[in-house]
Symmetry: C2
Subunit: 456 residues, 2 copies
């Protein structure tokens, strides 16, 4: 079956599109993608996934096989043939405003704002949420791990435990967006020009009857880059062997046990044999909390390989990310939108995020209506796509990473704490508050006018 | 860049392969893929991902672009041109034994056993781990959610919060393997012939100025299948409107708030208007614990839409899955392998899992050497690939789902508990214990014979 990404949606996007089509409902809609609440373990997010989102929108189309598949679904039995012709010609014609990848964002702040014919904006929902959510999740986790490593390189090693190998590729890029120095994922390296890093597996050493011979063999092929995994049997014996080889040893890796104690012993062994240039890489279920602890105790570790916790964002494997209709427009009539069910109210209307700084540090953000102006602040949402075409190619990941690090340098110290950081202030403008009130009043009016309004 | 899945590996798989190649190390190796420990929240796993694993192995090859990319990496500068010729012709020629998808597995039990030339078995590591890990993770979570729903259908709705849209596709299939009735992921439905399910979004209702009109419109296009989302504003008002429409209403969905209370009110409203056939679908951050509670209190919910918790396996977003060398063979000389660093010892040699039943229920498993025989038990690992070719196509997901449910019906009640279930007994054979001891003795001998053995 020749199928593309257009079917990579929740069924309801397509049934709603069909019903819009059949009823000639063709207003323009603006949806905003944002995170409702930050969990207690996250005091900021690092925006990522925009490149994936824009590539998707630019290339979105239904193949003939896609259309056939849908037409054959019993649910679509009642849909007219013209809808399938519409899908055959489908393209995304909308405009997108977004915060740049690498920008710090907080709860309620749109990462993406899509304005398009309602069917187009609706069909894009599932995929946009999925890529922005996951890549932001990993970039944000990476920033914490990189912070904990206090200047020592963090290497992303997680593909094997990512949620499928494709998630591994996304995670590799997002980890570098968040500040990681390199990844072990070769495909991600090829696609996104990321620095690659790797060591050796236990199986390498196990294939040999002799540990020394396994080290020598790897160094013969990779004299400048081989990192020897020394803990297949006994890490101190392994380190001793590595330290007494006849050639320079770029590095050794420790993958288990008490990393603080073991790294000290191994450093001592290496130094005793004059191997001061031999680096120590640590890996094995590491995360920002363990790394912070190791650094605090002065563990002589030169770089950290971080896998599972990074690529699954293990402590927070999902964010409360949503894609909400905030406005419709038809023939110049603009209607701001929200919903009022329980805790799920959100800010209506097209918005802008204004970031205020003081003395080079972020002071607070202001969530405001798109047309408001605050010359003293930086507006974070910028137009990145017009009529379905991106305005510029994605910057290289190296540049995005620098932006992330520059952003983080502007975030006041308190918000960097890995535990119980305070909430960064995101204020709402008077204009926005007023708009919510207007929409609420209008809704109350509509309910009162309807005979069901007092139905229970 | 025309690239395939062959680069979707950790760098070290390829550097090790290069070093094997350069040194003419061409033994056969057997690797086993297993989970070290089950977390306290999981008393069993549902094996999944085998179809992905075998498809990968059957199609594994390096494109010319892949080879060029690697050759241009500075790390490969010291590697001879012949290695890149080897990659150009690379295919997987190995044998695979595996437990069928839908089989229950426990800690230490191989889900997959790969025997191949060492380079081939090594290169496959990252991808095999990633697909078996993630699909097993989701199938296992799904089985718990399905169990909690006590016969009511569970619908997989998670793509938007999965770890990327491709993870959403994998999750949809795995969720159905684990017992879900349908998915909202259209592509997964198309690729794996899964039943599709969907409702409508809040945005649908918000586009209309009138809630009633939004419901009527959806029903006009989808009279037999439309599920009306009634909680955009006030769920009881929404239910009242749905109950008083002029046409039959297949179902309504509730997506927020106290589901127990709300589903009761909504059921009452529907019934009062003679809408007994109208089903109630619940969704909104559901998981097995919340569903168990709702069912225990008699919530009149007909089916559950489960997203984030299911597709991220939120309480356990990763398993301690590994791919370990257990044996090498060269010219008829077989060497069992393990490692002895700290807590990371594992059982050496090629193994078989024997499952013993009593009165139609699973009693215990026995992890044994591959050549042992226990006629009273079912051996779980079966040959599924010979010389790089699968022996049979994957069964339809529908059949795998039935196997899962049949397996679960054989698992004694105690192990189904969602909290603090006892550990299912996985015993080790005397033959296996003896082999570990032999390998240990041999290793001690090797260390004593080496001058580094007493180096610290």
């Amino acid at each position: 079956m020749n199928t593309g990404k257009a079917l990579l949606v929740d069924l309801y996007e397509l049934t709603m599109a069909a019903a819009y089509f059949e009823h000639h409902i063709d207003c323009h809609a603006t949806f905003e993608l944002f995170v409702r609440h930050l969990p207690p373990q996250r005091s900021y997010l690092v925006a990522a996934g925009l490149d994936s989102a824009l590539s998707y929108l630019e290339n979105l189309h239904f193949t003939e096989d896609d259309v056939h598949f849908l037409r054959d679904q019993s649910a679509f039995r009642t849909v007219s043939p013209e809808f399938f012709d519409y899908l055959r010609q489908f393209q995304f014609h909308g405009d997108v405003r977004a915060v740049a990848e690498g920008t710090l964002v907080f709860a309620d702040e749109p990462l993406l704002q899509v304005t398009a014919p309602v069917m187009e904006a609706q069909i894009a929902e599932t995929y946009l949420l999925s890529v922005i959510h996951y890549e932001t999740l990993v970039a944000s986790k990476a920033a914490r791990v990189v912070r904990a490593a206090a200047g020592r390189p963090v290497l992303e090693f997680g593909t094997r435990r990512a949620h499928g190998p494709e998630a591994g590729v996304r995670a590799a890029r997002a980890a570098c967006v968040g500040g990681c120095a390199a990844t072990s994922n070769v495909l991600a390296g090829a696609l996104y020009h990321l620095p690659l890093a790797g060591t050796a597996a236990h199986s390498w050493t196990q294939v040999f009857s002799d540990e020394r011979r396994s080290f020598e063999t790897l160094l013969e092929t990779f004299p400048d880059t081989a990192i020897l995994l020394v803990d297949t049997y006994d890490p101190l014996v392994g380190a001793e062997i590595a330290a007494t080889l006849g050639t320079p040893v770029p590095g050794v890796r420790l993958d288990s046990g008490d990393m603080l104690e073991k790294s000290r012993y191994v450093r001592e062994i290496l130094d005793r044999h004059g191997r001061r240039a031999t680096q120590i890489v640590a890996s094995g279920d590491l995360n920002e909390y363990k790394i912070e602890e190791l650094i605090a105790h002065g563990a002589p570790i030169d770089s950290f390989g971080v896998g599972t916790d990074l690529v699954t964002s293990r402590d927070v494997p999902a964010l409360s990310v949503v894609y909400k209709l905030v406005e419709t427009e038809k023939s110049g009539v603009v209607e701001p939108k929200t919903k009022f069910s329980e805790e799920k109210v959100y800010w209506p209307g097209r918005k802008q995020v204004f970031r205020f700084s003081q003395h080079g540090k972020y002071h607070h953000d202001l969530l405001a209506r798109a047309e408001e102006e605050y010359p003293a602040a930086s507006p974070l949402l910028q137009t990145v796509m017009k009529a379905g075409r991106r305005l510029a190619p994605a910057p290289p990941v190296k540049e995005i990473r620098e932006l992330t690090l520059a952003n983080l340098a502007c975030l006041p110290e308190a918000y960097h704490s890995l535990r119980e950081a305070p909430a960064y202030p995101v204020e709402k403008s008077v204009g926005l508050e007023r708009l919510l009130e207007e929409v609420r009043m209008q809704r109350l009016g509509a309910v009162k006018a309807s005979p069901q309004g007092e139905g229970h």
